[in-house]
Amino acid sequence: MIDGFLALYIFMLAAFTGYEIIARVPVILHTPLMSGSNFIHGIVLVGAMIALGHAQTPFEVGIGFMGVLLGAGNAAGGYVVTERMLEMFKSSKPAAGKEAK
């Protein structure tokens, strides 16, 4: 479906996108962003589901099951951790004004 060169173009454009998004990011967001990108590669879950869905021998099913388990852990864990970190970035002004009084 995707021929070799089309895949290469997708690869190139996506790589530039990732690079550009991070390029201007403030230091305070490095950890949440690393965590966020960690969540995004949790999309591996989809691939693991496909692998398990196409598995035939019990051995392949075993590997696929492990894959889905790990992928689901990556996605869910990545989401929770990132969300908890970002939850703390309250808008500063009102909070500062109130607490400094």
Partner: protein, 476 residues
């Protein structure tokens, strides 16, 4: 149901779009909280679409595995303390790498059962399913290699940060052995990709790949772990992209590549903040240079909490420099309480954060944010360094290497050349520290012996509480 595949494709497209937009939003503090939700919706859409794929078997098993994985990770992610975030990121990242490796393994093993002759554009198996071309096999092998390294490496990183493995394992000739292991894995991978799909070969390949991840990470010290985790994060992204190419799944290709590129840049930024190259982190032996560091003249001069409190209460400008020690002692709330009391007295208080304070860049900002410190009181190194000469008191709490002037003056020091916070330029420096020992990286700190420095010995939490109490008694 001819429309179903198109709907699924559209879902993957939507997911990829939401990932990119989410990541974009996450790169600004104001929209960051929404960003993760966007990406989360994208993930949900992609997973649901995958369930609807027409030719899937084992749906019950898939659902069970998803539920178990999600529940376990959700539960652990909810209850872990903020200070432990970096190792959790390492753990979840390792899981992603493992999943990518598992996809590669499933692909390779499924072909191993059927005799295939390749090299001339592929062949057909007995049951009529088309076999992969060399390019597809090579991608599966590459993804599996990178994913396996990321998996075992991240688990070691997790164990180290968790404190389960606090020694560095170093032996002579280590680099050569590591390179041999990697070369072995690459050679086996090449053989597999060129059509030698036998089960022993595939097993040996995965064993070597996993072993390499282990051996590559074991000699790296805890202080360098953030860079390593970030690198493995990029690795996992790449592995996912490669396996996505194998499975012809656009969402995986795009999300994986974006993370691979973003992660690589993030790794470079982190390494730069520590003034080290990525190669140096991976293959150098930090703190084992052997060169005799300069002996430091003078003695550490102690101060009592009440004197320290008075000093800061009557200061005009105070800069608080928090480090990981503060976070370990869970003192950030007390420190912020202290800072608020100072602000009430009209003292100008700022928090200065070194790019690698904490265990990861930005980790300290997260910890301060948790305590409720508004982020406009938090200053970056480049902004705050010119202000130290006008600062009356710099309160260093739990930070060590990032304020060590030896980084500027002693070429024999392992941290020589690392940019630091110039707290020594402040009129007075108060250092809260547990004891007289050296810090996390095991390096002597000249700041503690400086003429304008006073040591307030004690656990971060206890010291901050004392300071708060003294400040309150001053007011009454």
């Amino acid at each position: 149901m001819a429309w179903l595949p198109d709907v699924i494709k559209a879902c993957y497209f939507l997911a990829a779009l939401l990932f990119i937009l989410g990541l974009k939003r996450m790169s600004s503090p104001r929209s960051a909280r929404g960003g993760i939700v966007w990406a989360g919706v994208g993930m949900l859409v992609a997973v649901l679409a995958t369930f609807a794929l027409p030719d899937m078997h084992n749906r019950g098993l898939i659902l069970a595995a998803v539920l178990i994985g999600v529940t376990a990770a959700w539960w652990s992610g909810r209850r872990v303390a903020m200070t432990a975030m970096p190792q959790m990121v390492a753990l979840y990242n390792g899981m992603g790498g493992g999943a990518a490796a598992a996809i590669g393994a499933a692909e390779l093993f499924s072909y191993a059962g059927t005799a295939v002759t390749l090299l001339d554009g592929g062949q057909f198996t007995a049951d009529g399913a088309s076999t992969p071309g060399t390019a597809q096999l090579a991608l599966a092998v590459l993804g599996a290699l990178i994913g396996s390294v990321s998996f075992s490496g991240s688990l070691i990183a997790f164990a180290k940060l968790q404190g389960w493995l606090d020694r560095r394992f170093v032996f002579p000739g280590q680099r050569v052995v590591n390179m041999l292991v990697l070369a072995g894995a690459v050679v086996l991978g090449g053989m597999i990709a060129s059509g030698h799909l036998t089960i022993p070969l595939i097993v040996a390949f995965f064993t070597l790949a996993l072993l390499f991840g282990l051996m590559m990470t074991l000699p790296i010290g805890g202080a360098d772990m953030p860079v390593v985790i970030s690198l493995y994060n990029a690795f996992t992204g790449l592995a996912v992209a490669f396996e996505g190419l194998v499975l012809q799944n656009e969402a995986m290709i795009i999300a994986g590549t974006v993370v691979g590129a973003a992660g690589t840049l993030l790794t470079q930024l982190m390494a730069k903040a520590m003034n080290r190259s990525i190669g140096n982190v991976l293959f150098g032996s930090f703190g084992a240079s052997g060169a005799a560091a300069q002996a430091i003249a003078g003695a550490q001069k102690p101060i009592e909490a009440n004197d320290a409190a008075v000093m800061m209460a009557y200061a005009e400008r105070v800069v608080i420099v928090p480090g990981y020690g503060m976070a370990v002692a869970q003192a950030q709330h007390k420190v912020w309480e202290f800072a608020k009391l100072l602000i009430e007295r009209g003292v100008k208080v700022k928090f200065a954060i070194h790019p690698v304070a904490g265990r990861m860049p930005g980790h300290m900002n997260v910890l301060l944010a948790e305590a409720g410190v508004p982020y406009d009181l938090i200053a970056d190194m480049d902004d705050i360094n010119p202000e130290f000469p006008q600062t009356d008191v710099a309160l260093v709490i739990g930070a060590n290497d990032v304020v060590n002037p030896l980084a500027k003056t002693d070429p024999a020091s392992p941290i020589y050349g690392m940019p630091i916070l110039d707290v020594a330029n402040a009129k007075h420096v108060i250092v809260v520290k547990r004891g007289k020992g050296t810090g996390f990286a095991g390096i002597e700190n000249a700041l503690f012996y400086a003429d304008n420095a006073r040591m307030l010995y004690g656990d971060g939490q206890a010291a901050a509480s004392q300071l708060v109490a003294e400040l309150k008694s001053l007011e009454s």
